[in-house]
């Protein structure tokens, strides 16, 4: 792994160099959204989708609060709490990688993204063990409305974690500040959704 800028293929000569991207990022006008506008559209969309899902979850809970409480007791609360620590720590590493990319430290950004991705894998292992335990008890999506929502919401979130891990690997390979910033923003969105989802599904 070298800190030297990668040469671009002839077909990509219009793509800005790392130096140009760094300069552009440093000159980001204060008061405007940092990073890619489309990523912010995605972040807003994801908050809206998960927010609507959680509102539906809480609304359906009104029809059977006792059943929801009993179903919730079967979830792995401790594992989910640990997963919060796992994701915020992974997000911290991704944020540090963004700073390293801006400083042109390609080797450092990759060394930061590798554990960030591995922590994503830890999240999925803990989530998978919870699912396996529920399935072993004969619990599925149709057992109770609580599980329909909890599997849907946490499963959709887990799919985002998996996608984020792939994205972080790709932007780590590319190594440009803009790519790393965009990949890290997606990862922070996954983090943000989890801190909203966790208390509603696991704690309340």
């Amino acid at each position: 792994m070298s800190d030297a800028p990668r040469s671009l293929p002839a077909s990509s000569q219009t793509v800005p160099t790392r130096e140009e991207e760094t300069k552009s990022h440093d000159e980001h006008p204060p008061g405007q959204l940092p990073g890619e506008l489309l990523m912010w559209v995605l972040i807003l969309s994801e908050i809206a989708v998960f927010g609507a899902g959680l509102l539906a979850f809480l609304s359906v809970r009104l029809t059977d609060p006792q059943g929801f409480a009993e179903a919730q007791a079967h979830l792995h609360r401790t594992g989910a709490a640990a997963n919060t620590i796992v994701l915020v720590t992974s997000g911290w590493l991704a944020a540090l990688a963004t700073r390293a990319a801006e400083a042109g430290q390609t080797r450092r950004l990759r060394l930061l993204l590798v554990p960030a991705i591995l922590l994503g894998a830890v999240f999925l292992v803990l989530k998978g063990s919870e699912y396996a335990d529920l399935f072993a008890q004969g619990i599925g999506t149709e057992t109770h409305a609580f599980y329909t929502f909890s599997f849907l919401l946490t499963g959709f979130h887990a799919a985002h974690v998996l996608a984020g891990m792939v994205l972080l690997a790709v932007v780590g390979w590319l190594g440009t500040p803009k790519a790393v910033e965009t990949g890290a923003a997606f990862w922070h969105m996954v983090d943000l959704v989890w801190v909203l989802l966790f208390p509603v599904v696991y704690l309340l």
Binding site: H28, P30, G31, Q32, L33, P34, G35, I43, I47, G51, L54, L55, L58, S59, R61, L62, P65, F68, R77, A81, T84, I85, V88, T89, G91, W92, A94, A95, L96, R99, A184, A185, H188, M189, D191, L192, V195, L196, F198, P199, V200, Y202, L203, L204
Partner: protein, 81 residues
């Protein structure tokens, strides 16, 4: 300590506080309100320091307003159950 590292430390503290409330045996508003407040604070820290909205305070206030509305609706539904 960098801003991002301070944010991470704060997120760990807020997460530990959420876990402490959940493990305390409290119920009703005494559980719902602090847990959702802590979730909202964590979301604010992620937006401000991880996603960099500290450089765009107007946007950060807009996100905070939307999240506050969402958290209050969550709280209303949770307490109505």
């Amino acid at each position: 300590m960098s801003r991002v590292t301070k944010a991470w430390a704060l997120l760990i503290v807020l997460s530990a506080a959420s876990t402490a409330f959940a493990a305390s045996g409290l119920g009703g508003a005494a559980l719902v309100l602090p847990v959702l407040l802590l979730a909202g604070l964590k979301a604010h820290v992620i937006l401000r320091d991880y996603l960099g909205l500290a450089v765009a305070p107007a946007w950060l206030r807009g996100f905070d307003l939307g999240l506050a509305f969402l958290m209050l609706t969550f709280a209303g539904l949770a307490l109505a159950a």
